[in-house]
């Protein structure tokens, strides 16, 4: 009752030929377009920075890497609960792809490009953050999958990393297949960052690569034979057939990262460590180089 009567009062005032009402209308009609303009403009600008996504199992060193890239030195970290973005600048040692065409002798000042880095939680319950930014991110330029090179020497650690990587690659593959029909099938390269190379028990990057490939092949096999999930069977319609849910080249027994090429996903594996002993920054030039090449 009270609200309807106040609303009525309000409307009466708004339509009355009072000078205040005219002024109010004038003000609104003038400022609204401006506000909308600024709103859209802000959105457009914010979109610009090339974004790289940090993904990987919990404890792999994503957040450590983020702080290293953003601040030049790694911070101590704990398990993440929320995503975190940061703006970083390519160091002068890594050349960006635009830079490739510049002459070696060109000394004119050229600002190193900036990029946004988005860290995601790796805990099993929180991976929806990563997958949602994977499917919605429009300025996504690349994906850095961080693995703990020491953890993959244990069966459980290897399985966890391989399952996660399998799911991520499958998402990228599906994204590529879907966007093939639309005008720009944007390829998203993936860097598998074999982190913690400083740890005594860690495997070298080459071995991490083959181990992951072997394990993904197993994951792929059981996934294809596993139960359908509830999302498919009970609602009619979009039932994914086996081929679209098969990662890489359909029907092959072995999985190689190179199979992802035909799906527009280029995978490279490079070693490094975000943190040296004693907490100082480790060796990450190879990763910076990759970022520079894909910016």
């Amino acid at each position: 009752m009270a609200s309807s009567s106040t609303a009525k009062d309000w409307l009466t005032w708004a339509f009355s030929p009072a000078i205040s009402a005219i002024f109010a209308t004038l003000l609104i009609s003038l400022t609204l377009p401006l506000l909308i303009h600024f709103y859209l403009y802000r959105k457009a600008v914010a979109k610009e920075l090339p974004t790289f996504l940090l993904i990987g199992p919990s404890g792999a060193g994503k957040t450590t890497l983020l702080t290293l890239f953003a601040n030049g030195s790694p911070s101590p970290t704990h398990t993440s609960q929320e995503p975190q973005s940061a703006v970083c600048q390519l160091p002068s040692s890594a050349r960006s792809s635009e830079d490739r065409y510049r002459s070696e002798n060109d000394t004119s000042a050229q600002a190193q490009p900036k990029l946004a880095l988005l860290d995601t939680p790796g805990h099993g319950k929180l991976r929806h953050h990563a997958t949602s930014s994977l499917t919605t991110g429009s300025s996504l330029k690349g994906l850095i999958f961080v693995v703990d090179s020491a953890a993959v020497s244990s069966a459980a650690g290897l399985t966890e990393a391989a399952e996660y990587l399998h799911d991520v690659l499958l998402l990228l593959q599906k994204r590529h297949t879907q966007s093939k029909t639309s005008k720009d099938p944007q390829a998203i390269p993936v860097l598998v960052a074999a982190n913690k190379q400083d740890v005594f028990t860690s495997l070298p990057a080459g071995l991490v690569r083959t181990k992951l490939e072997e394990e993904i092949a197993k994951v792929r096999r059981t996934r294809s034979k596993g139960l359908l999930d509830s999302g498919i069977g009970m609602d009619e319609g979009a039932g994914g057939d086996e081929e679209t849910n098969w990662l890489g080249e359909y029907g092959t027994t072995d999985f190689k990262f190179s199979q992802m090429g035909e799906h527009g996903v280029e995978v490279s594996v490079r070693g490094g460590n975000a943190k040296g002993d004693g907490g100082e920054s480790g060796k990450v030039n190879q990763w910076w180089e990759w970022v520079g090449g894909n910016i």
Partner: protein, 649 residues
């Protein structure tokens, strides 16, 4: 003695920390995993234990900060609560606006070290088991003299009084006070109050400028006023004087000319304040008392309704505010308060209840959404309802997603191959009539299709007809398997009346075929054990489950529950889970007892899949399979997105 104190963001970056003794990062990681992410602990439990440490924490949700204190469980450090409260208030005041931008990955916290040390010195009352309400009333003086001792180190060192340990400080208090000559007794404290009155103004003016720079005036002003009121009240007169004092203080804060008069003084004070720890201490003292007092009063008042929405303001006034409220709601940018959240949250709760989510789970989910959103601003073009929806979707996704996903085929393959190959043992439990045998047959069918050899064990030696029912299933399954040329299946039964646990044990050794000398080839890959259905409140039958779990030692124990409305699945699940303890008395599978739920009859409930949430919420055990029909093939894995979508529909 504190072992460590850390201040970190929810994204996992440690902004500041102090370790008094080396502790592994896994201790704090454990807190984050078990309490914040997996919510294994009831939210009313305010401490977390890991290894030999006890952890206490405090959250500043709106700026995304976590404050954690770590100490050895042997000690009773009741003052840590006060420390957390004070650190949180001061740190957020100092760095909150910087952290709020969301892009902070590093803070320059060199100033903070001194403040923190001062706080610890002030608040540390040592190891005292009974937790009296510290600073609650006047007799609680010991901390103040100690502070004065630090500030006026000259006088006290002349006194040659050793730094009082908590035990000695109390009897020594009167002595200390009189020995200090000048400032002692009630009158001089009153004089100090007058001084304090003068210094509180410069301090606040300094704060004002800092706040202006940081553009977060509102919250600081509020905190500060409380500080003057309560701190003063506690320091000097006690509760009776509060009113009159608060009036004069707000005068001082508001009076601009007053501020200007002593602006130069304040500047010099600020300098020395940040430079040396001692001045920090002096300023801090009252502020900390105020923070603690206000947090206490907030706690006691938290039940009172918030009288923030004032009734007056004239017709046009209310109409405009209503209208802007409406705009705010539509355009976003509204700050979510307890009162503005109340109604939509109640609606959300009802919605969940309608979807058959248990009351307890719905309450907890709504509470977690509320803490998630309280004091947050809605995003642009997002209404409050939509914000709540999104937050609820996140909470549901988190609760339903298992920490590690189950890949049964892989598990079976790894166990049954290699040098230490053995049969993989799965057992199915549940109350009467939920469809244990049916779902067991569905799993058997799934395994058969993947070319495994399955032995089905009739562990229900109790209910007449149970073995026959299984025999029918096995006959059907072998017929299907023969037709499709896949794996093979057989029934293992020892009739009725025998102990289920020993039947299961026999079956496992039969399947592995290693009883004879040297043993032979493994006969079966998977042993599927059916168990007797039992009422979950039948203690005698329930406790036999414990023995069963220990003797048969299954790789996986699944419980079958119904999706149907009105079944008391939650109580069932709880009672079953707590029976599966190992010989050391620990619950199986990392303390949750069982490995997963199979929710049967999902096809009959439509959207009302709330049972999934209730069961997972009550036990922390994930839902692994859904039964969706009458056929052997009607078994599905859980798709979390699907379930959340149905629940929110």
């Amino acid at each position: 003695m504190l072992d460590a104190f850390e201040i970190l963001t929810t994204s996992g970056i440690v902004l500041w920390r102090k370790h008094y003794a080396p502790i592994a990062p896994s201790i704090v990681d454990g807190l984050i995993r078990d309490v914040f992410i997996e919510e294994k602990q009831s939210p009313s439990n305010e401490q977390y234990r890991k290894e030999r440490y006890t952890l206490k924490w405090s959250l500043a949700k709106d700026v995304g900060l976590v404050f954690v204190a770590v100490y050895q469980s042997l000690l009773h450090l009741s003052w840590v609560d006060n420390l957390l409260t004070a650190v949180k208030a001061l740190f957020v005041k100092e760095y909150g606006s910087e952290v709020k931008t969301g892009r902070t990955t590093k803070l320059h916290t060199s100033r903070w070290d001194a403040t923190f040390d001062a706080l610890v010195t002030k608040l540390d009352t040592g190891n005292e088991p009974p937790p009296p309400p510290v600073f609650a009333s006047q007799p609680k003086r010991p901390a103040i003299p100690r502070k004065e001792q630090v500030v006026m180190d000259d006088t006290t060192s002349a006194d040659a009084t050793p730094i009082p340990t908590p035990d000695t400080s109390r009897p020594a208090t009167p002595h200390l006070l009189t020995a200090k000559g000048g400032p002692g007794g009630k009158t001089s404290r009153r004089a100090r109050k007058a001084q304090n009155f003068a210094t509180s103004a410069p301090a606040s003016s300094g704060d004002e400028s800092a706040a202006g720079k940081a553009s977060k005036v509102k919250s600081t002003a509020k905190a500060k006023r409380r500080w003057d009121v309560d701190g003063g009240a506690i320091d000097d007169y006690g509760d009776d004087a509060t009113l009159d004092y608060s009036a004069s203080t707000s005068d001082a804060v508001n009076g601009d000319d007053h501020d200007n008069d002593i602006a130069d003084v304040s500047a010099s004070q600020m300098g020395s304040r940040t430079g040396k720890g001692q001045f920090v201490l002096k300023d801090l003292d009252d502020e900390v008392d105020a923070i603690l007092a206000s947090s206490r009063s907030q706690k006691s008042q938290s039940s009172d309704p918030d009288p923030s929405s004032t009734g007056g303001g004239g017709l046009l006034g209310t109409a405009t505010s209503r209208l802007t409220g409406l705009f705010r709601n539509a355009l976003g940018g509204a700050t979510l308060t307890k009162s503005s959240l109340q109604q939509p949250l109640a609606a959300m709760r009802n919605h969940l209840l309608e979807k058959n989510v248990a009351r307890e789970a719905a309450d907890r989910l709504c509470a977690s959404v509320e803490t998630d959103l309280l004091n947050q601003k809605t995003a642009s073009f997002t209404s409050i309802d939509k914000t709540i929806r999104e937050s609820m979707e996140k909470a549901l996704t988190r609760i339903l997603t298992p920490t590690s996903s189950l890949d049964l085929l892989r598990d079976v393959t790894t166990t049954t191959t290699g040098p230490s190959a053995r049969p993989y043992v799965i057992s199915i439990v549940g109350v009467n009539g939920v469809g244990k045998s049916t779902n067991l047959s569905k799993i058997a069918y799934f395994l058969l299709q993947n070319h495994f050899r399955v032995l089905i064990v009739a562990g229900d030696t109790f209910r007449s007809g149970a073995v026959e029912q299984l025999r029918v299933h096995v006959r059907n399954l072998s017929e299907l398997a023969r037709r499709e040329a896949v794996g093979r299946v057989e029934l293992f039964e020892k009739g009725y009346g025998k102990d289920a646990a020993s039947v299961a044990k026999e079956a496992v050794s039969y399947a592995s075929n290693n009883t004879g000398k040297g043993g032979g080839e493994m006969l079966y890959d998977v042993v599927l054990i059916d168990t007797a259905g039992r009422r979950h409140n039948d203690t005698r039958l329930m406790s036999s489950l414990t023995k069963f779990g220990q003797l048969a030692n299954p790789d996986k124990i699944f419980m079958v529950g119904e999706a149907l409305v009105g079944s008391d699945s939650v109580a069932q699940a709880r009672n079953f889970a707590k029976e599966f303890v190992d010989t050391k008395g620990n619950l199986r599978n990392n303390g949750v007892g069982m490995d997963g739920f199979i929710i049967s009859k999902c096809d009959t409930v439509g959207d009302m899949v709330g049972t999934l949430v209730s069961m997972v919420h009550a036990t922390g055990i994930p839902v692994v399979f859904l039964g969706v029909g009458q056929h052997y093939g009607d078994l599905r894995g859980l798709n979390v997105g699907w379930a959340v979508e149905r629940l929110m529909r």
